[in-house]
């Protein structure tokens, strides 16, 4: 949305293709207040940021096609679209891919039982559809998704029996962890899930401590009575369209795996194809929006809607804001990884 708004405001003709019945992506699930600074809308809930974007897009004259899937990108930047039973082709001068990410799965005996789901899935159910997926939840993963969704499950009325994390430390923000600890939720680091059991639904989870080699420590098994297991074990970019189009990729574990290589304007290795957001590397909502703005400005400039001077200045301002989000112990690793992506362009 941020990309569309910037490009449209500069004067470009912008169409957003959205496969869901509502645009806004993950923002509408984020009912917590965001971090960052004033320019990043710190203190505002994700839901409100999403609504603001929709308003801005409408005012900027962005065309949004809902319930429409891009099933392919063909040569000359032609897109294949399908909407219901109807297909069509759409020709574009510039394409910006902001297809986001998919939750990783974790396979263990019993993982296919109903009640085992992604943490993001639980978040969709409670915050968008307002239904509880269960009442007694085991959260697997203490990154920000695991911590935040645990808190939101409590707010929706579920009990979180425990959060387990295989690493010997909590990967997410300490403040998110502190909130759920105050609410009485144990966080067990160096723990793994051995198996889940149940007949029509998960009913029991067996967890165990792990040693430095990730092996279960004998004698530390514990059975938990739960009816829901949420998996918060990372995200991976949804990159099928970029693969299909022929973009070069680079493998960066800290950014979610295979990431399309791009330059400082968010342009992929294909001229006229840009990438932004979690697709360009798993980070967070604030960096996703800023990368979108950068891609939108770059696209507008390339199409002649922004002069080189104005384009350069405005892109520099966005890059400065991006840099300010990629600092500190939680951000500097991402700054290094994003730099590696840009350097990968020059590798054979």
């Amino acid at each position: 949305m941020a990309a569309a708004i910037e490009a449209a405001r500069a004067g470009a003709n912008v169409t957003v293709i959205e496969e869901n019945e509502r645009p806004g992506g993950q923002l509408f699930k984020q009912i917590h207040k965001f971090f960052g600074s004033g320019v990043h809308q710190a203190g505002t809930r994700g839901v409100q940021i999403g609504l603001n974007l929709l308003n801005e897009a409408e005012q900027a004259g962005v065309e949004i096609r809902l319930d429409t899937v891009v099933y392919g990108i063909f040569s000359d930047k032609r897109l294949g679209l399908v909407c219901g039973d109807h297909t069509e082709e759409l020709a574009a001068s510039v394409i910006i891919l902001a297809t986001g990410a998919n939750e990783n799965a974790l396979a263990f005996p019993g993982w296919t039982l109903p009640g085992v789901m992604g943490a993001g899935a639980a978040q969709t159910l409670i915050n968008i559809h307002r239904v509880l997926p269960g009442h007694r939840v085991l959260m697997v993963g203490a990154g920000n998704v695991g911590l935040i969704v645990s808190y939101q499950l409590l707010q929706a009325g579920a009990e979180v029996i425990a959060i387990i994390e295989a690493l010997p430390y909590i990967g997410g923000y300490g403040v998110h962890a502190s909130k759920v600890r105050r609410a009485g939720v144990p966080i067990l680091v160096s723990h793994t899930l051995l198996r889940a059991a149940g007949t029509k639904r998960v009913e029991k989870a067996v967890i165990s401590q792990v040693d430095k080699k990730w092996e279960p420590v004998p004698g530390t098994q514990e059975a938990l009575e739960i009816d829901t297991i949420c998996l918060a074990v990372g995200l991976s970019p949804l990159s099928e369209l970029a693969w299909m189009a022929g973009c070069q990729f680079s493998y960066l574990p800290s950014l979610g795996g295979w990431v399309p290589v791009h330059d400082e304007n968010m342009q992929s290795t294909l001229s006229g194809l840009y990438v932004a957001g979690d697709l360009a590397g798993i980070e967070e909502a604030s960096t996703a929006m800023e990368e979108g703005r950068l891609a939108g400005l770059a696209a507008a400039q390339v199409l002649g809607y922004l002069s080189p001077e104005e384009g350069k200045a405005r892109k520099a301002a966005v890059r400065e804001r991006l840099d300010s989000l990629r600092i500190g112990s939680f951000g500097e690793g991402r700054a290094i990884a994003k730099q590696k992506i840009m350097e990968a362009r020059f590798e054979k």
Partner: protein, 112 residues
Amino acid sequence: MRVEDHPILGKAEKRNEVTLLVDGEAITALEGEPIAAALLAVGRSVFRYTAKRREPRGVFCALGRCTDCVMVVDGRPNVRTCVTPARDGLVIQTQFGRGEKNATPDSDSKKD
């Protein structure tokens, strides 16, 4: 269970109610909500049984990518209930295997 009142989202908006027929049983849903949400709201966990081992499956990704939640809707199999809106009078059935017309719980599981 539905979240009627929420500390951040507030009270649930009033929405039109519709009736879904699920395996012969009438349940109330909110018009336009995903079928899966209506089923979870009434406490249903199992949406389908797998083709070979007849194992129960339910919601996994909740955004239309994994196909774990597919059911037979108005006679059409493999409908992703987590992204299909509830409309009045939809006939929904637990899907067995790939949802062939004659598939029943007692079907020989080898007959895929």
